[in-house]
């Protein structure tokens, strides 16, 4: 089981994962760099520190589950899973190419160690609640973590699921919102504002924790608080920066779904050195 708790070490891994994900997307010539960079510390902290899982035994019954509901940011998930040993690092650059296990959106048919096929936004919380209920029925200690985009919260099913999770007190589920404030068409506040977002989740019966989504130690504390919360599911609102770590990508809606050129990649890798 992986357990790296030193924030500095995790931050180093996060930086490396950013480089890997950007190389993958550049090689693929398409993909979603902005959200992959905003979700980095969340995914790294979960897989390397928080979650109980065993890459040598991916179907271990008691494992914690991870669902990337914002499936388009899978380059970061693939990079971290490969780092953990679930899948080969050498073929990460086949992302989005014919026959690759690294599909454009997560696909369990090609990568069975994934917990869910995602890509159609809005479904992850429901899936997590189903996994959470199954664990409760079996008295299994497994927890389920689901990462959502903020734009994704515009989907109605999210709020059906939020209502269900709060009412049924599915407290072995933790939702993490990668709150980077940008979606494909622009800024979330201009397209369909979510505020007051913390109040929304609270009013649906969730324990809300707000955190800097790029602070590893902050995330570690948030996950400890979420794990210790009984009687309510938790929602971690992680304030993040879209394109984090690459100056010309940060807060730029363009990089929601545009692959960097080779030249841009070179500049980005220099910044992430």
């Amino acid at each position: 089981m992986l357990h790296i708790s030193d924030p500095a070490e995790l931050a180093d891994i996060a930086k490396r994962m950013r480089r890997t994900a950007l190389e993958m997307i550049t090689e693929a010539k398409s993909g979603h760099p902005g959200g992959s960079l905003s979700v980095t510390e969340i995914v790294v902290t979960l897989f390397m520190n928080v979650m109980r899982h065993d890459p040598a035994n991916p179907k271990w019954a008691d494992r914690d589950r991870f669902i990337l509901s914002k499936g388009h940011c899978c380059p970061m998930l693939y990079a971290v899973m490969a780092e953990c040993g679930y899948c080969p690092k050498e073929t990460l650059n086949t992302l989005r190419k014919l026959g690759s296990i690294y599909q454009g959106h997560p696909d369990v048919r090609f990568l069975p160690s994934l917990e869910a096929s995602t890509g159609s936004l809005g479904q992850g919380v429901s899936l997590a609640l189903g996994m959470g209920l199954a664990a409760k029925m079996d008295g299994n200690p497994a927890r389920t973590y689901v990462v959502l985009g903020d734009g994704e919260l515009q989907e109605g099913q999210i709020w059906e699921a939020a209502m269900f999770g709060g009412f049924h007190r599915v407290d072995n589920v933790v939702a993490i919102v990668d709150w980077n404030r940008i979606q494909l068409d622009g800024f979330v506040k201009d397209i369909l504002d979510l505020e007051p977002l913390a109040d929304k989740w609270r009013s649906f019966g969730w324990h809300v924790i707000e955190v800097d989504g790029h602070s590893i130690s902050g995330l570690q504390r948030a996950f400890i608080e979420a794990t210790g919360t009984r009687g309510k599911p938790s929602c971690i609102l992680a304030h993040t920066i879209k394109g984090k770590g690459v100056s010309f990508m940060e807060n730029q809606p363009k990089y929601h779904g545009t692959a960097p050129s080779k030249e841009e990649l070179a500049l980005a890798l220099k910044e992430l050195a």
């Binding site: 019954a61 589950r65 696909d107 369990v108 048919r109 917990e115 869910a116 096929s117 995602t118 890509g119 159609s120 479904q123 429901s126 899936l127 997590a128 609640l129 189903g130 996994m131 959470g132 209920l133 199954a134 664990a135 029925m137 079996d138 389920t144 109605g156 099913q157 059906e160 699921a161 209502m163 269900f164």
Partner: protein
């Protein structure tokens, strides 16, 4: 397998329980047999008959409220956690409101989820077309990898429910609200994907699914009085279709009528026609709902008005026989 009856006149077709009621009964049976069976409903458990399961197994029943999309994806999550979920609602809500979830969380990852749609077709009667599911078979067959079942009576539903629990993979099971004529006794065995020949015949084959099976038997009884010998085949499995049974019917009788309580554009009939054209092309006719939505009324009135009674199957048989050999 020999035909169920030697002579079509032997079918009495007395009214029995609705297939939704049989589903509820079978659900409790399979729940007792397999502790992994769980049930989800969306505020219709008294109508879908999942209430019996909820009473016996409260810890394995998930009431989702009126939120079908969420229900289907929760069911998929339960399946990923090793459960065998039966998610139930009126067919029109489960399939239409849950379709995207069925596609992404069940079909595409090949998850072991069963969705059961009750109140299918137009025979629900007074509630009217917003509650009537006339496209559910089409939607279910649009989900790659889904098995699609449409039992015709109580015993068919019970047998197929047991088969459903043993079958690993996503599945849609169609049930009706109206009382269903008794066709099978409890000794009849069902295999998913294997059609059942109810009675042999040489002039024409009447294929049907769900409540149209009894109407096809009645039609065969009428045709017999005119000296026309009709084979009657129960297509309880819409997918995978029993290609051999279809090809054999085409070869042996040279004409086929397909009847279903569903839009004719997109249900069983067109799927059978595809197999007929690939194996042994013969004239075909189709009984079903033609490019419209029905209305309120008693089930009997609606089925009569929209052309889903034995009379319509007989008319289609005469029509196809007139074309046969031309």
């Amino acid at each position: 397998m020999p035909a169920v009856k030697a002579n079509v006149k032997e079918f009495e077709l007395k009214l029995g329980p609705a297939t939704r009621e049989a589903f509820g009964k079978a659900l409790v049976e399979v729940g007792r047999k397999n502790p992994n069976v769980v049930t989800l409903d969306a505020d219709l458990s008294k109508s879908t008959y999942t209430a019996g399961f909820a009473k016996e197994f409260p810890d394995r029943f998930v009431e989702c409220g009126i939120a079908e999309s969420n229900m289907i994806a929760i069911a998929a999550g339960l399946a990923s956690g090793g459960k065998i979920p039966f998610a139930s609602s009126f067919s029109v809500f489960a399939m239409n409101k849950g379709f995207e979830q069925l596609r992404v969380t069940a079909a595409f990852p090949n998850v072991n989820l069963k969705v059961v749609g009750t109140h299918s077709g137009i025979s629900i009667g007074e509630d009217g077309p917003s509650q009537m599911s006339i496209e559910d078979l089409s939607l279910a067959c649009s989900l790659a990898g889904f098995t699609v079942l449409c039992p015709a009576d109580e015993n068919a539903m019970i047998q197929l429910m047991h088969a459903a629990v043993d079958h690993v993979g996503p599945m849609f099971i169609r049930a009706g609200r109206a009382k269903a004529a008794v066709i099978y006794d409890a000794t009849q065995r069902f295999t998913i994907g294997k059609a059942i020949t109810l009675v042999e015949g040489t002039d024409v084959t009447l294929m049907a699914t769900g409540l149209m099976l009894a109407e096809s038997i009645r039609a065969a009884q009428t045709l017999a009085t005119e000296g026309i010998s009709a084979r009657v085949v129960d297509m309880h499995t819409i997918r995978p279709l029993d290609r051999d049974a279809i090809a054999d019917a085409a070869r042996a009788t040279g004409a086929i009528v397909v009847s279903e309580e569903h839009l004719v554009d997109a249900g069983l009939g067109v799927r059978v026609a595809q197999v007929v054209s690939e194996t042994k092309p013969v004239p075909m006719e189709f009984v079903g709902i033609h490019n419209t939505y029905a209305e309120s009324g008693t089930p009997e009135e609606i089925l009569d008005k929209y052309g889903l009674v034995a009379r319509d199957v007989v008319a289609a048989a005469r029509k196809v026989l007139a074309r046969k050999g031309n």
